[in-house]
């Protein structure tokens, strides 16, 4: 979907068009869910955040400026701010039970236990990163946003974003690759 189509759809949403809204939900819900679920340890809080993000699209569509940002960046920005709020409210909350562990990661094609263990280690390592390093890494590595868009969302310069990314990757490398070798 190009910018023009995107702007048209958002314009229709601003006029209360539910069909246009449904199309945008269909297109953006899964990447936003992945972002929120990687960002937070609480799966149901992550789902609530995705719902709230779209509710804001519904109520604030008129304020979206297609010339300033792509819709995906705009939505990620909203979801990111909600995640940060939630993260700060529940900073000490962590899932340790097996149910949460199973719920949080994909089973993979054959329910591969080894792949699940690896995913779980990555999840733990990501959760252990400082919030801004984690946000920077998730936005660039997993969500595929450009460094400029990610920098805007994290509210830092591109240089500062690069520094956050480099520190995050260094820490993950130490954590995950050294564990791998042991």
């Amino acid at each position: 979907m190009d910018r023009e189509q995107e702007a048209l759809l958002v314009g229709r949403v601003a006029r209360g068009d539910r069909a246009a809204f449904a199309l945008l939900v269909e297109q953006h819900q899964r990447p936003l869910s992945s972002y929120a679920r990687r960002m937070l340890s609480d799966v149901s809080a992550a789902d609530d955040i995705v719902q709230e993000t779209f509710l804001r699209l519904w109520t604030r569509a008129a304020s979206f400026n297609s010339a300033a940002a792509r819709l995906t960046t705009w939505l990620h920005n909203i979801a990111h701010n909600l995640c940060v709020d939630s993260f700060r409210r529940n900073a000490r909350m962590e899932f340790t039970d097996d149910e949460a562990r199973l719920e949080s990661v994909s089973n993979g094609p054959d329910g591969d236990i080894e792949a699940m263990e690896s995913a779980w280690r990555v999840r733990r390592a990501l959760q252990a990163l400082p919030e801004r390093q984690r946000s920077a890494l998730l936005l660039c590595h997993y969500q595929g946003l450009s460094n400029r868009d990610a920098a805007k969302i994290v509210e830092v310069s591109v240089d500062a974003l690069e520094s956050l990314l480099a520190r995050a990757r260094r820490r993950l490398k130490e954590e995950l690759l050294s564990n791998d070798e042991s």
Binding site: R18, F54, V105, V122, K173
Partner: protein, 142 residues
């Protein structure tokens, strides 16, 4: 021309996949890798971390229906939902809505009848008063 040190920094920052490299530096990064093949080891290490990170795929979730259902409804939708509820135990609502014109009609009918009757009485009373005013006492006994 990009220095090997800068390339190393960028690989440590963005990883090994070209699509994640900054667009305005991709070409210079590729050229640098061609010029300094020894940097392929750093590229390999960055790829190793990328692959481990990619193993974390959150369970897929379909929230579309939930999101659409959570939208605030319009006044018309709310009225229709009230009149035609999805729950069968609320059968009385459509029945009440259907009976509403009948009840209104009856109420209006009774009310208008009262008005008409009051007018008749008023006219009669006026007639009586006018007779009383114009007639003398003797007229009554004649």
């Amino acid at each position: 021309m990009m220095s090997p040190e800068r390339l190393q920094e960028l690989l440590d920052t963005y990883g090994a996949r070209e699509e994640r490299w900054p667009e305005d530096q991709r070409q210079a990064m590729r050229s640098c890798l061609d010029d300094f093949p020894e940097l392929r080891r750093q590229l390999f290490e960055a790829r190793e971390l990328d692959l481990i990170l990619d193993s974390f795929i959150p369970a897929e979730v379909d929230l579309e229906q939930r999101i659409l259902e959570a939208l605030p409804s319009s006044a018309l939708d709310r009225m229709l939902n009230w009149l035609l509820p999805p729950m069968p135990q609320l059968w009385w609502r459509p029945a009440m809505a259907a009976a509403l014109p009948l009840v209104l009609g009856l109420a209006l009918g009774v009310e208008s009848q009262k008005l008409v009757s009051t007018d008749v009485v008023t006219d009669w009373e006026l007639q009586e008063r006018s007779l009383l005013l114009t007639a003398t006492e003797g007229d009554w006994y004649e």
